[in-house]
């Protein structure tokens, strides 16, 4: 497959490799990833699962990552969360001066990821493989106390960045990980993130992902998780930043009684486009999924959420529940919610609900009769719309941070201060 965009990516790739000396094996691997991408091609809006994403933005993107050690001048990191060991990557490169020492953190080991991630055939994962130079690898040993880690991917320069993260939990291990993508870059920028997760039997992973990148950023994200018997994966995904954001999440419930819960909140305004596709594949008995989505689109923003639940013929007694809700708060805004079930066995329980609408007139009127102005009433109701999902964040300091971040995106910081006090 060829296209002007792919040709340009290949040329940028050649130039980038020439600038970055690397081991022959790495070089070969990167070339192989690029080759895979060129053969496969990038998705287009004609692909059913990409129709709500903003892919046109790639035409103008620059794919070459920053080289050399990142400068940490003028970096404005978010406040730390107590008890979480922080590691910072700036423009895709590890920033030791802003981070804890890599190595052992309780039962976990964090090291820089120079090798390859298990390749999957998704285009943006291949693109990441082809260009990425750094990343984090977290391994948590069997059955120890919960380990708390925070990884910040910070954008300081308007270059492309390829964050990558590998997480492996051994049997009965427990990890809480805050993964933040933040940046103040206001010029166009391409960020392409890859996360690979493997949970052994009985492991428990709570993963809090905050996408708060700059206003002109194009952010793509490929996450793949494999969950073994009795293991549990909770993903909290907060999408507020970027001009165009697309998350592709694949969760494989591979062992009996594996469990996942995915709570997503997307706030888009102005020209923003947020698109999320989550596939949960039930491949064993008694596997469970809970999926909650709340999206608010203002201005002429577009939000897409595509939640596909697959239940294989061997996955009897699987249980899944989807609750997807969209709130249209702008005259030209659009929300597309697609709950999908693909069930190959009879003995399952799958429920799903998807609703999109505007603010409830009766609720608004009720607040007005109490003297609340229409502006504040609308903000309050928007807040109320997402709050049940935000409340599920069980790290209080992080929850407060998320609430403040959401409030500032709703231009309602002041009222919210009162709400939280």
């Amino acid at each position: 497959m060829s296209s002007p965009l792919l040709t340009r990516i290949a040329a940028e790739h050649d130039a980038a490799l020439a600038l970055q000396p690397s081991a022959p094996a790495t070089l070969a691997h990167r070339r192989q990833a690029l080759q895979g991408l060129l053969e496969r091609g990038l998705p287009t809006v004609r692909d059913e699962n990409w129709r709500y994403a903003n892919l046109r933005i790639l035409e103008k993107a620059n794919f070459t990552p920053a080289t050399g050690l990142p400068s940490t001048d003028g970096i404005d990191l978010p406040g730390t969360i107590e008890g979480f060991t922080r590691f910072v990557f700036v423009d895709g490169q590890f920033a030791p001066q802003l981070s804890a020492l890599p190595g052992a953190i309780g039962a976990a080991t964090l090291r820089r990821l120079h090798g390859e991630l298990p390749t999957n055939d998704q285009a943006f994962a291949l693109l990441n493989e082809a260009f990425a130079t750094d990343g984090a690898d977290i391994q948590v040993a069997a059955g120890a106390a919960t380990v708390d880690v925070e990884i910040v991917f910070y954008s300081a320069a308007p270059t492309a960045a390829y964050p990558r993260l590998n997480v492996r939990l051994d049997r009965d291990a427990r990890l809480r990980l805050i993964e933040r993508h933040v940046g103040k870059v206001t010029t166009p920028q391409f960020i392409d993130s890859v996360v690979r997760i493997e949970l052994a039997a009985g492991a428990s992973f709570k993963h809090y992902r905050l996408q708060e990148t700059g206003a002109a950023t194009s952010w793509t994200d490929t996450l793949r998780a494999t969950i073994a018997r009795d293991a549990s994966y909770h993903l909290h995904l907060l999408q507020v930043g970027a001009l165009a954001a697309r998350s592709s999440v694949d969760i494989e419930l591979a062992g009996p009684a594996a469990h996942t819960r995915v709570d997503t909140v997307a706030l888009a305004d102005g020209p923003q486009v947020h698109d999320t596709m989550i596939v949960v594949d039930h491949k064993a008995t008694h596997t469970r999924t809970e999926e909650n989505f709340r999206g608010i689109a203002g201005g002429r923003a577009r939000i897409g959420f595509n939640g596909l639940i697959i239940v294989r013929d061997c996955a009897y007694h699987a249980d899944s529940a989807q609750s997807l809700k969209g709130l249209i708060a702008g005259s030209e805004a659009e929300i597309d919610l697609r709950p999908q079930l693909e069930i190959h066995t009879d003995e399952v329980r799958c429920s799903h609900g998807a609703t999109t609408g505007k603010l409830d007139d009766t609720m608004l009127f009720y607040l007005l009769t109490r003297g609340i102005t229409p502006e504040v009433a609308q903000r309050l109701l928007k807040w109320a719309f997402i709050t049940d999902v935000v409340a599920k964040i069980d790290v209080p300091a992080l929850r407060t941070h998320v609430q403040r971040s959401l409030a500032s995106h709703m231009q309602d910081a002041q009222s919210l201060e009162e709400l939280l006090s």
Partner: protein, 249 residues
């Protein structure tokens, strides 16, 4: 306090109020009674300013000003309170937050400072005690998961905290058992004074045994067909609304 003159109101293409005239002097409690569909709730909503209710003729004067010219939140801030027949559940908006925001909105209108947090909680606790509501209600979402009776008590609690000058209570007695009815009546009576007026909209006379009105009006077919003192409620209970309609005809 409230003067309604020849009020005509339509909802969509349907004329609901057809020349309603009513005067509620300051310090009085007036009951509006009437059968289903007579326009009682429409009157409540029009006074509170609900969108979708079109005033086609007539005037409403509140405290010397044109009430219909004010937005709903302006009416609330100038002291008009509507107790809803079906109080709305707003999950995610905290009860105590709504109370505080509402009270501060009014105080701002009157040029007063925001209420002190400590003082506010003291006030709310005192009123909750009167309404026999547990304090746990404060931290819950507005009316979220409340029973019918709890919602009505919450309406009265809001009224007690806001101390309106004109309270319109739309079928506050519906769905209440006799004990809850007494609690609600106690709440209303505690606020009754020479500076405040109440409009009680109700189907039944039983609420009026506990809150004795100065006047009772019978609303039928969008107009007030008969007015009298509190004994009129008993007469209605005995003879039914048909009696008023047929006498008027």
């Amino acid at each position: 306090m409230l003067i309604v003159e020849d009020l005509h109101v339509s909802v969509g293409a349907t004329a609901v109020l057809k020349g309603l005239t009513l005067t509620v002097p300051t310090g009085e409690v007036h009951a509006i009674m009437g059968p289903n569909g007579s326009g009682k709730s429409t009157l409540s909503y029009v006074l509170a300013g609900r969108p979708g209710y079109t005033v086609t003729a007539g005037t409403v004067t509140y405290d010397g000003q044109d009430l219909l010219a004010l937005a709903p939140e302006e009416r609330a801030r100038s002291g008009v309170f509507l107790g809803f027949q079906y109080p709305v559940e707003i999950p995610g908006v905290n009860n105590v937050y709504l109370l505080k925001a509402a009270l501060n909105a009014q105080r701002k209108q009157r040029g007063l400072q925001e209420v002190d947090a400590f003082e506010f909680l003291g006030l709310v606790r005192e009123k909750m005690k009167l309404m026999q509501m547990p304090e746990t209600f404060l931290s819950r979402g507005v009316n979220e998961g409340f029973s019918g009776g709890e919602k009505k008590r919450n309406e009265i609690l809001q009224m007690l905290v806001l101390e309106p000058r004109l309270a319109i209570l739309d079928e506050t007695d519906s769905g209440l058992d006799i004990d809850a009815l007494k609690v609600v009546a106690t709440g209303v009576n505690s606020l009754r004074d020479a500076a405040r007026s109440f409009v009680l909209v109700t189907h039944y006379q039983r609420l009026l045994d506990h809150i004795v009105p100065d006047k009772v009006h019978v609303l039928v077919g969008g107009r007030i067909l008969r007015s009298g003192d509190h004994t009129l409620a008993h007469e209605l209970e005995r003879r039914g609304y048909d009696w008023v309609s047929s006498e008027a005809a």
